[in-house]
């Protein structure tokens, strides 16, 4: 079936190759990028939900 589809769509060979390249390129770039993030930055980011800026109250702590 795949041969049939490929046969009838002009340039489909490039389409498949582009898809694979995009896929692996995307993941390689993402993993490299994530692995190089600074620890201090990550620490500050993960604290964000714990500070809601609310002036008063028990809202940031759970009973």
């Amino acid at each position: 079936m795949i041969e049939h589809v490929l046969h009838h769509l002009n340039g489909i060979e490039v389409f498949g190759i582009i898809s694979v390249c995009l896929f692996f390129g995307f993941f390689t770039a993402m993993l490299l990028w994530a692995s190089r993030l600074k620890k201090t930055y990550l620490n500050s980011m993960q604290e964000l939900p714990l500070d809601s800026g609310e002036k008063n109250s028990n809202q940031d702590s759970h009973e």
């Binding site: 009838h8 896929f23 994530a34 600074k38 980011m45 002036k55 008063n56 009973e63």
Partner: protein, 756 residues
Amino acid sequence: MSLAASQNISAVASSPARSVQAETFKYDNAIVRAFAIATVVWGLVGMTAGLLCAVQLFFPGANLDFQFITFGRLRPLHTNAVIFAFVGNGMFMGIYYSLQRLCKARMFSDFVSWFHFWGWQAIIVSAALTLPLGLTTSKEYAELEWPIKIAITVVWVAFTINLIGTILRRREKHMYVAIWFYIATALTVAVLHLTNSMVIPAGWFKSYSMYAGVQDALVQWWYGHNAVAFFLTTPYLGMMYYFLPKAANRPVFSYRLSIIHFWALIFVYIWAGPHHLLYTALPDWAQSLGMVFSLMLIAPSWGGMLNGLLTLRGAWDKVRQDPMLKFMVVAITAYGMATLEGPTLAIKSVNSLSHYTDWTIAHVHTGALGWNGFLTFSVLYWIFPRLYNTRLYSIKLANYHFWIALLGMMFYVVPMYVAGVTEGLMWKQFTADGFLQYPNFLETVVQIVPMYKLRAIGGTLYIAGVWLMVYNLYRTAKSGVFVKETEAQAVPFRREHAPVERGPHWIHRWLEAKPLTFTVLSVLAILIGGMVEIIPMYLVKENVPTISSVKPYTPLELLGRDIYIREGCVGCHSQMVRPFRSETERYGEYSKAGEFVYDHPFLWGSKRTGPDLHREGGKYPDAWHYNHLENPRSTSPGSIMPNYPWLLSQKLDTTSLPARIQALRKIGVPYPDGFENGPAQKDLQEQSEKIVANLKTGSITANDNREIIAVIAYLQRLGTDIKAAPPVATPPATVQPTAELDSHGQDARATTTAAK
């Protein structure tokens, strides 16, 4: 929050902006409360509709022969209410609460917030009215007719404007990962909804999908799968990343992992849709693509689950004491289980057993009851005391709710697993002589009826738990005072005060500080997978082998098909004979893609509570269908199909026929010009009279203008075109029958080849 962490945040937030004074502003709690109340109310409605559906599956008389609450019409009401009303409102509750606090800004516009709220409730009410009336497109989770689809688009745009507007006006420079999940939700749902809603109207509440057969199936399940991903999963993951750290009072286990979780999930999810159509007439390449990407989904899903559970490391004592955390832990575990099971079911060999069975029902309810339900309860227990500035009325009652809900979920899913595997095995069982062990489909239904009863007990327990929660939340509200607005302070984020640093991490900081760029990249990530799947299907007409003998439905059959859609028959009957010997033996020749070229919409179905109907035409006399529809147990003792007495009494509406023919012609069905002005009515009358004459031979006197005549015409047409066919024109059939060896070691292909 720890002092050290607090100082850290303070330094990050204020150092670039020391010269700017902190601003005081107010969070809008009223909109959060409105969505919270709507979540509870619609949750009860949706779950009760589900329970009534469940009861009808072992006691069909529970519909009281009342067409508006019969299973086929009630099931889409249940699914829509639970997905879009319960989870939808739950999602908006969580987003409106957390987004304001993460952005340190009030929502962009109070007017848009309330427009969004009332617009969404109006859509839900219109769904609750139209679905029981049988006004449906029949496409799962996209059943609502075109005027409501337009309303959904408008309200969703309002929500997106409010979301993006709030992000743009934020005082916190960085966008926490929960906000990324919210952005992906808003944009992807918009893309999915628009793509799958391409219909041609044939009246105010009737339309036909612009796609036909295979294309329609692919687009529908690309939508259906990703609706699960981006409506039921991503917004709730965002809520998990916000509310879990809040409840545990500690940061998420790994922010780095959350970044990988987000990008990997949104990129991979979109490719996996075709796993809903394995072994159907969908081209093999699309099926394989769906299977491979489904398996890859385990990685990001489990990354997210572990990130959630590990957030609680060292804090499990809190889980023992805090029911909110108990609900959260079970929700995350259910997410992990469902996201492991989903890819497992997407493996073709597993799918050949599980598809069309109650195994799928068990799977989706692990997600719906466990992941969405428990997480919603958790957030409600968190939010209500804070909205009313008080403490939860009763921790004990919340604990009771937890255990009852957990027990209810077990009573639901375990019987459904047993039922699913039982059905799958019985459908495929051959005797030593090579005949089907259970040739009568009804035998396989009767076998699992006890499981259906247990499932209803599970559902009842789950709903009982929700009522406990309603009481608990009500008493909580009564014991406090509603805080309409919460005052907050933050140093405003000004770009000129916060130059982007250069360094190995600058790309990410630049990216998540620019919401619009981030948004565009997120959309690109989801579009790539969508394009890879969809574009070849759009472009390649030859993808669907033509079969010269396949003709458009006659006017009477067309109206019969529309009644079949109205009654939701597709909820229990598939129209897709898979290329297995067990199916070709039971039903006949396997289904070919070319047989569905005039099917707007496709009606392949996703569940076989009753048998497949694709080769139903000509199997039984007209009189059998008449008696069967009037009272299924008169022809099939033990059947759990509802009676359809109204089909015998209601007059067939032929006034809409011209509009329907014209609409179908516009999307490529080759009805001759002018056919609708006279010839169609004549054709309809002649065919009706023939059926009435046939019924007379079965001692049935029927009126030729009743709805049942059209339904019989449609059922008798199903799958018959190919029987009169000359050899299938080139190219050959889309799928080859799978080699499934019988007890004598013979290849199933022998059967199908002989049938040709």
